[in-house]
């Protein structure tokens, strides 16, 4: 798998590998989060059974060149099962299973404004996997018990809404994203973009590092203004280690600690972006006044 997969992929893989004595190999990514097919090639041999690479990265928005990656993998080992976590891609990036040669794919309901607690695992017909939960299973079923009908119905509706005006939605998200990103780069100093830009980046993702301030403090400050974001700092997660994604793309610890993720949705309006741009410099400035790292003008 790539070194920047979502923890919901990394942790189960590590758990199962310990349980079954298998090896989990994390393929490095470049400064923008891309897995290079030429690099991936070296990690795939006859012993590899499963490759999992996300279509879109959940933190820095990198849209992987999945077609090229799959081609390289199949060329090295035709028996490999290729899975992709498309949770952050679905509804934002075109996915066509007729020409994306994946064996399995994961989708998430809440990421497209559907109800929490339901998702999809797409499994191609010729792939055999073991159910992980035991119970009342028939031959076709991978998940036991009675279906969660209300959640599934909600998910279905969310899908309908997301794909109602897909192209326009993506254009709209992209315009909000760029307005926010350019606004930040123009109104706040000492800012670093995490991840790629333009078409190689998910249309709803803005992730920037603010120097001299710490992420969690900034999320609390912004929440006071009614702007809700998340941060890559260690203080918001496990002790000492900031986001593994930011470290994997080579960010120094300080920049990782000062990184903030903004997600825009089709429910946001231009005014929301304006408002965020109005309060963000104030929030950053206040925290920079408190910080010993802020360079002082002599």
């Amino acid at each position: 798998m790539s070194s920047i997969e979502h923890l919901s992929v990394i942790f189960p893989a590590q758990f199962v590998s310990e349980l079954l004595g298998l090896e989990v190999i994390k393929v490095p990514v470049d400064e923008e989060g891309f897995v290079d097919p030429e690099v991936l090639k070296y990690y795939v041999d006859r012993d590899v059974g499963l490759v999992s690479i996300q279509l879109v990265n959940h933190e820095i928005g990198t849209i992987q060149k999945l077609r090229d990656l799959i081609e390289v993998v199949r060329d090295r080992n035709p028996d490999v099962v290729f899975h992709t976590d498309a949770s952050d891609a679905y509804g934002r990036v075109r996915i066509d299973l007729r020409d994306l040669d994946v064996d399995m794919m994961t989708l998430s309901s809440h990421k497209i404004h559907g109800p929490r607690g339901v998702g999809v695992l797409y499994v191609r017909d010729d792939v055999r996997i073991e159910p992980i939960l035991r119970g009342q299973l028939s031959v076709e079923k991978l998940w036991p018990g009675v279906e969660l009908t209300p959640l599934i119905a909600g998910f279905r509706k969310a899908v309908e809404l997301a794909f109602n005006n897909f192209e326009e939605n993506v254009k709209y998200l992209t315009s909000l994203r760029d307005k926010l990103l350019n606004g930040i780069l123009n109104s706040v100093s000492d800012v670093v973009l995490n991840g790629p830009s333009g078409d190689e980046r998910a249309p709803d993702n803005v992730n920037v590092a603010f120097k001299y301030v710490e992420g969690e403090a900034l999320t609390i400050e912004l929440s006071g203004y009614g702007v809700y974001v998340s941060s890559g700092s260690a203080c918001s997660s496990r002790f000492l280690e900031p986001s593994h994604v930011l470290l994997a793309i080579g960010r120094e610890y300080e920049l990782a600690h000062g990184s903030i993720l903004f997600k825009v949705s089709r429910y946001h309006k231009g005014e929301d972006i304006d408002y965020a741009l109005e309060v963000l410099p104030k929030a950053v400035d206040r925290l920079r006044t408190l910080s010993p790292l802020t360079p002082r003008r002599a």
């Binding site: 710490e214 260690a234 203080c235 000492l240 080579g250 300080e254 006044t289 910080s291 790292l293």
Partner: protein, 171 residues
Amino acid sequence: MSSRIPLPYSPVVLEYFRNPKNVGRMENVTVQSTAGSPACGDMIRLYLRIEDDLIVEATFESYGCAANIAAASILTEMIKGKTLKEAWEIKWNDISDKLGGLPPIKYHCSILAVGALKRAIRTYYNEVRKEVPDWLPKNLSTEEKQTMEEEELIERMYSRVPKSSGAESGK
């Protein structure tokens, strides 16, 4: 960076975070100390003005989460007007208690604050007064040890991380 549950900060912590007291670098500083590091995501710089073993003025700067800022700020209030010997008695849980209780995952913020204080007091006696009083323990306190451990650990981890510059904005 996936959905993080907002931490249950007490109203006191939020108040000190929003309106911290004694912020900033000090002009006629007697001694200053730093605990933590940017790589930790947790750093406190303490400035003290000391006259006749009395802390007459204390200010701070902070790079860290809301708990870190609140702990450092409330510490400066706790030590102003105290003798160095009295200030030395402050423990990390005194700070946590005064803040209305910190979530356990944030205890290290109050430990860091006390670490900075003790470091400042030692530096004062070793380098400014150049004589160490009898009451000052030779052995490091828990807070000092933990602060050093955190700093050393991050140094070791940090040296393994490849550094990059990234795309920067001007202004």
